[in-house]
Symmetry: C2
Subunit: 169 residues, 2 copies
Amino acid sequence: MAEGSGASGASGESLLFLTDEQLRKGIEAMFFAYRGFTADPDRILDNYAYGRAHHRAIHFINRQPGLTVNALLSVLGVTKQSLNRVLRTLIEDGLVESRVGRKDKRERHLHLTEKGAALERELSDAQRARMRAAYRAAGPAAVAGFRQVLEAMMDPEMRRQYLALRDGA
Amino acid sequence: MAEGSGASGASGESLLFLTDEQLRKGIEAMFFAYRGFTADPDRILDNYAYGRAHHRAIHFINRQPGLTVNALLSVLGVTKQSLNRVLRTLIEDGLVESRVGRKDKRERHLHLTEKGAALERELSDAQRARMRAAYRAAGPAAVAGFRQVLEAMMDPEMRRQYLALRDGA
DNA sequence: CTTGGAAAGTCAACAAGGCTGACATAAAAT
DNA sequence: ATTTTATGTCAGCCTTGTTGACTTTCCAAG
């Protein structure tokens, strides 16, 4: 409704990709694709009585071994109480190890145990398999565009985190 | 770990975009981007004491006015009990109207009221604004690739739904 | 016309995973 | 010595998902 669907005041360029119709397709594509994106890990997690929250924690601990609770908290964007519940079960179950900081003994540095790394592998193998199939089907140029749009869609703070992670660990 | 990060047995082509490293970047991009994708509507919904589930229902009712409860159920992929709770509040609050089917009186056809349409507009305006900014920043070629990869990532059943929705309502 | 089954709605109970607020402890920093 | 920081924990709440059982309505096939 906002501004019709033609090239509303197009400045000479082809701005047809910015019509409400095109944007709507993108929105719905995000919705349905995200379901696919999480479907395989969700199925695996069911077998272990874990949920998506555990997956996210495991992913980022694997990604940056030894990161502190605070760092994990800010990547995940949840409260410490919420994370703690998840983290506690992972530690109790022997998937994650919490080591007291050497320099600063208040900090806890998180690491995956072999058992945790095994689950991480199982989860990310499944997720990568789907991503690989999608990438292969779409081709390298599409993949570049895919990443560009996603990066532009992030909140600045999230983009900062993502880029720091993307380049150098 | 699965297969190294080089061009493992690359068949002559440039398959560098399929390395585990590239796939991992895509996975994390999806994670962070989805947060941005839902952030604006979530903020708006807070003002009304509604949640993401209400947004999804409103979106698809607006998209296909008169669709039945069953049809909505299968698009959303939740149980009728779960949807019913959300739908009931939307009807009670006068955002959604449930009309008994003319042909088949068991079916309920869902429509947005003017009030419902107003909220839908507020939500989708915000979501489109972010998507528009991202599209504009990335450019038309990137957008095409974005959609291709997302479509390839969906479960076949979801893709069917998405494509049916994408072309002709 | 009767009946089987589909569409819809509802009740109850439960779980995951968000949230807030309050409080405890240890260690670093001032 | 005091304050601040990092972490953990308890209690309670909310949303949104689940399963299972049951009812009502009503189309359609026999």
